[in-house]
């Protein structure tokens, strides 16, 4: 597994370098992985890499790019928009010559649609924001500061908002809230994996059996 960089398009037509974790031995099947978002991305990072290791053993190359503004990216998160993220993942798919896409949880909202796509436990943008807003209300209350969800949404729509430590721009918030995973995607539900999803955990965790199961299902489906 090696780090690589790839040219990510900027809104002004230029490109910036973004990071990706890759296992590339020029094999025929090349899987782009769109990671889970925000807090879920942290909780599922190790699991995602464990799945990549197993796919490598099954003869599949994998590419796990950063979304601009996330992970190792030096671009400011508050300047990102859903359109930028969609375009960036399409650019990553083209750069790495991906033949298939796996999108995890909220990553499903940004998966390139011009390749065969598998969604693992996809989730709507509104559901992600709802939980992050709730965490903000709870954290504020704990520190003795009452905040109201409706007011926060108004504020977010107009000026952007920081939720769970992630500064989201107004345009991001407005356009992310209405995103839904592509209905035509091939979905792997958590019930097929067994156990509960690792994104539910209060702390990042690992589960070799779940990683094995997801890799096995993917290997079968990507072969088709």
């Amino acid at each position: 597994m090696l780090p690589a960089s790839w040219p990510c398009p900027l809104p002004d037509g230029q490109a910036s370098k973004e990071f990706a974790l890759c296992r590339d031995t020029s094999r025929q099947r090349r899987l782009l992985i769109v990671p889970a978002l925000f807090d879920e991305g942290n909780k599922l990072r190790r699991f995602t890499v464990e799945v990549m290791r197993r796919l490598d053993a099954a003869g599949i190359d994998t590419f796990l790019p950063d979304l601009p503004g996330c992970n190792e990216s030096v671009r400011p998160l508050h300047e990102q928009t859903p359109a930028i993220w969609i375009e960036s993942m399409a650019a990553a798919a083209r750069h790495f010559g991906a033949t298939h896409v796996l999108a995890i949880r909220g990553g499903s909202l940004f998966a390139p649609r011009f390749l065969p796509v598998v969604h693992y436990a996809p989730v709507k943008g509104a559901a992600i924001l709802r939980q992050m807003l709730r965490a903000r209300v709870l954290a504020s209350r704990e520190s003795g500061n009452e905040e109201n969800r409706d007011t926060l949404v108004e504020q977010a729509m107009a000026h952007g908002i920081t939720l769970a430590g992630y500064p989201l721009g107004a345009e991001f918030f407005r356009n992310f809230d209405v995103l839904t995973p592509a209905p035509e995607a091939d979905v792997i539900d958590q019930t097929e994996i067994g156990g509960s999803g690792l994104w539910l955990r209060a702390e990042p965790d690992e589960n070799p059996a779940q990683a094995e199961c997801l890799a096995t299902i993917l290997t079968r489906r990507i072969r088709q």
Binding site: M132, R134, V137, E142, R201, E203, D205
Partner: protein, 86 residues
Amino acid sequence: MPDQTDLLLRRILTDVLGLKPGQADTFDADTGLFGHLPELDSMAVAGLLTELEDRLDIIIEDDEIEGEMLETYGGLRSFVEAKRGS
């Protein structure tokens, strides 16, 4: 007949806290949750409440969330039972 709400609640806590199978069976009404378990921060509590809503088919309003209901297992169970009307 086993209490469905109690069973589901223990299962959800097992998933969120990453407990070993059966570990949640030892929870009693006084077992401390929020404020007692360092991993149960605001983001984790938000996740827990969302999961409760999804699996128990209830809606929890923000202004219903009080320290007391999250402090102990018994407090959370009472809240959920009232929500489910059981």
